[in-house]
Symmetry: C2
Subunit: 308 residues, 2 copies
DNA sequence: CATCACCCATAACATCAGTTTATGGCCTTA
DNA sequence: TAAGGCCATAAACTGATGTTATGGGTGATG
């Protein structure tokens, strides 16, 4: 509610090209060098940086005849800019994979949480190793992912569930855990001892829809504590769940990956849970026997963070 | 090295206005509604969304005479877009604080890590509560922050050090910890048992410069284990440290906040450390006796995640 | 010192994406 | 059937961003 913005964000924040240019200036140490790197001319770079400085009302670079270095404010702004550019790179990596749907070499299927929060980063890294590989991405729930891998519509799948799927080989690529989080104004935010599993089970929660990997894990973990109460809200996307919790509607349960930023910024507070195991493995899966090769193997080893 | 991009990112990723528009369409459920919300006309919105679809090569919205809803791909793209927009909002919040240096009401001083990773989020929230408050921000190391608060050049400070500063009152607002991280190719990435404090102390590390809060905490924690070996590299910014570690130069030590994304994406791997306490409190500080009031109090309670 | 090789700034002009205004067609509802 | 949502298209306007062309600094080198 009440998040009107009179002037759209886009008019107050320099555009991606300008931010990229600023990063290049920081790395290279001169405006003209940065311009060369980005394939534009020096006057263009000069004018763009100047425009950004007047818009922000702060000097970003110290110009000298020997080059340009960031001012103290410039360094800070550059770090914020870097985060925007990194998010844009993740967007680009995902978008390329999505576009490549037709004529691609590596077809990936992934559950929503992994596709949203992890895959873009991996794809950026993969592009570094194999710039020519076109990647396509299909996102769906675990059952859909497994199906696509089994029918060879995908070369590699990523799932979050508990079950080791039949007919597939798999490797654990990371541990995730479910987190119970509430808005800072919620009573649970002040509990230092957190909640017992039984209390959690009995409390109406904001959850993803039945059938999602998140929901499955939660159901299983609380089965021994009376089972899950009827949900307070049942929403179709991670984002919607987060938004409801941020608004103070009640406690939500989501992957740690989805709430890292909100927890760090204290927009949400984690509530420790005792008596239930909310960890879960993130797995890569592929058709049984058919060990991934080529780009699929590269992606797999990236995700495990170890060389083959 | 070798991260040439032939076409700059800015030409492959829709601009912030377009991403914002897409988010608005997702929320509102119609192109014209989204257009109204952003203060542009319906044809502009229509053409912009279409341009984005052709650029990405994917249909993002299902149009109907009753409104427009996201396609499955559209929902995924929207989530990636949201992360870009959030980063841009953080940029904006920080930039506004920086600009407001002259005629502002709330003056904040913060150490680099907090200013980079946490403050923008808090400032977004603060703007929600008090849209009219102009905030100014000064970033520096802990000593500078303390100095500014003592001399009343800042109303509120945020520091990371171990020491409780003299002449100031403080409140712990969060726990942070230092993380030892290495590139996936580094030998330590495969150690399941991590490293002993003594081994860590004896190993040349990639560190922030002496005098930074991070460095102080590390020095103190390893003092009993033979003290810190001569650094492998000593760099002036968090980002430079990260870049060196990502390149495989060696182990780095940074705030958990700085490496959350890299750890999640497996571009870096955390190495557990036994025998040393690398936790540290993040504190808000203010002049002794002068309990924060007004906007300072609001910001403080936001950071603590509890109502006054 | 003069030359060369960097750096940055400014001016005048070209280009293109994004915008508006002005339409028209499609569906649902009263 | 008229009214009021929605979306699409066409044509003209605007401004930001780019270019080429030029000039003025600094420092290394013979």
């Amino acid at each position: 509610m009440g998040d009107e913005e009179l002037v759209p964000l886009a008019h107050r924040v320099p555009d991606l090209g300008a931010l990229e240019l600023l990063l290049a200036v920081a790395r290279v140490g001169s405006l003209s060098g940065a311009a060369r790197r980005l394939g534009i001319t020096q006057p263009a770079a000069s004018s763009r940086i100047r425009a950004m400085e007047t818009r922000l009302g702060v000097a970003l670079v110290d110009r000298s005849p020997r080059g340009s270095t960031l001012t103290a404010e410039g360094a800070l702004v550059t770090d914020w800019a870097r985060r925007v550019v990194e998010a844009a790179e993740a967007f680009d990596a995902g978008a390329q994979a999505l576009r490549g749907r037709r004529d691609s070499r590596l077809r990936v299927a992934a559950s929503m949480t992994i596709a949203e929060y992890l895959l873009p980063g991996w794809l950026i890294a993969l592009r570094g190793q194999r710039p020519d590989t076109a990647v396509s991405l299909h996102a769906g729930n675990s059952a859909v992912v497994v199906q696509r891998v089994l029918t060879h519509e995908a070369d590699l799948g990523f799932v979050e569930g508990l079950t080791v799927p039949e007919g597939l080989d798999s490797a654990v690529i990371a541990q995730d855990r479910l987190v119970v989080a509430v808005a800072p104004v919620h009573a649970w935010a002040r509990r230092t001892r957190g909640v017992e599993a039984a209390e959690l089970a009995a409390t109406p929660l904001i959850l993803r829809e039945r059938g999602s990997g998140t929901r499955q894990v939660l159901d299983a973990a609380l089965a021994g504590h009376g089972g899950l109460a009827a949900p307070l809200l049942e929403l179709a996307s991670t984002t919607a769940v987060k938004a409801a919790a941020l608004g103070g509607a009640g406690p939500c349960v989501l992957s740690e990956l989805a709430v890292v930023d909100e927890l760090a910024a204290r927009r949400l507070v984690e509530v420790p849970v005792s008596g239930a195991e909310l960890g879960r493995a993130l797995r890569a899966v592929w058709p049984a026997g058919a060990r991934p090769a080529g780009p699929a193997r590269d992606l797999l080893s990236l995700t495990r963070g170890t060389s083959p």
